[in-house]
Amino acid sequence: MKATRPKGKSWQNYKVAVTGINARAENPGPGCAVARCIQEHPLFKGSIIGLGYDALDAGLYARHLCNNSYLIPYPSEGEEALLYRLAQIHKSEGLDAIIPCLDSELQNFGRLKSELQLMGISMLIPSRDQFNLRAKNHLSAFCESIDVNAPESKALSNPTFFDTCEKEGWKYPLIVKGIFYDAYIVHSAFEAKSVFAKLVSTWGYPVLVQKLVIGDELNLAAVGDGKGNMLGAVTMRKKALTEKGKAWAGVSIVDDGLTRVAERIIGALSWRGPLEVEVIKGYDGKIYLIEINPRFPSWIYLSHAVGRNLPVAVLKLLSGLTDLELSEPTSGTFFIRHAQELIVTLPEFETVLTEGRLAPQMVQDQIIRSA
């Protein structure tokens, strides 16, 4: 099998598939923001294909973001089902690149990297080793190996830990986290065990417990080139949170300490692809690493606003460009997230449910027929 993507095709004309286009107001996936970054770049003339998991993923119907949209199988169905579906979509669309935007799907995409490359579809994603080393349950050991502070954390498979943890120095409040997503602050053993059960039923074992560090929460998004270099970091401080602790308002800042920590992480892992580094800057001035997310964050549109459009940087890297034309880091640009209703017609919804796709012409025809 030969690569179908013509060599030397400009990123500006790419057909790019983007996942994670769910957009629940309190905890949106990053896909819609990634699509928006690319669509709003003045030089982009290609198209975005939205890949959703649920017929209610808003990005499927967001015409200003996704030119065409498709449903794909949930990550739990495995990589073979994903490959089969992607091959179908590729036959219709002729994809050049995919930007996976969810932690839970990255391992499947990672296993399919060679097959997709042979089909002419590129991805800038971490290797399995890179992905595993930064995983939540390995984070403490990784931080120790690169001399970065991290709050003490532990992987749990038994909730009885919460009954006796205070005797072992784990004082409440503590943070309890799912292996892929979700984090809750708990103030008692009762509350902790209830959260434990909820996280196990959603994300499986293990559940992670972490000591709480008091300070300011800072987030950094960047792209690793796979050779140990960090490209185009954008740092944000959360100004207001949703109930889930996600940013609904934030501001760009420049924090040299965090930048150095992120450079050390990317250098140590030779990270390839997008990532988000979440830290707490403690009131003692030290930076404590909380999480490394192996994908763009949902606030990534801020990167476009500060002249460091990281999703477009990924496309440029995939096309072989080395000059990413990123502006100098700047501070003082705010974002405020807001919820908005997308209007979906019955034929559109029906087409997604029955055919797993939404093509504009087909929908247009149905609307005309039903008028």
Partner: protein, 90 residues
């Protein structure tokens, strides 16, 4: 400034720290390192502007005394109090 630092310890912002602040004409201040923003009143703005330009505490106090028509001693203690207050935000 350095003298005040030795008296008050780590709560006094350094000149380098002050020079990083983005200050608007109306006294709105944005700290690019932390993302915090706050406002100072017109007299605070006069002092902050002078300190950012490298003035000593004495020069800032004398200038404030001249512009506001108050005794230098009062201006001096006000400037010190202002800097210590600023230190709690930075």
């Amino acid at each position: 400034m350095e003298e005040l630092m030795s008296r008050a310890g780590g709560k006094v912002p350094t000149r380098e720290r002050l020079s990083q602040l983005a200050v608007s004409e109306t006294g709105f201040i944005f700290d690019p390192q932390t993302g915090q923003s706050f406002s100072v009143n017109p007299t605070g703005l006069i002092v902050l502007d002078l300190l950012k330009r490298g003035s000593t505490l004495d020069v800032a106090s004398n200038s404030l005394a001249d512009r506001c028509g108050i005794p230098t001693e009062i201006a001096s203690s006000s400037v010190e109090a202002f800097i210590l207050q600023l230190g709690r935000y930075l």
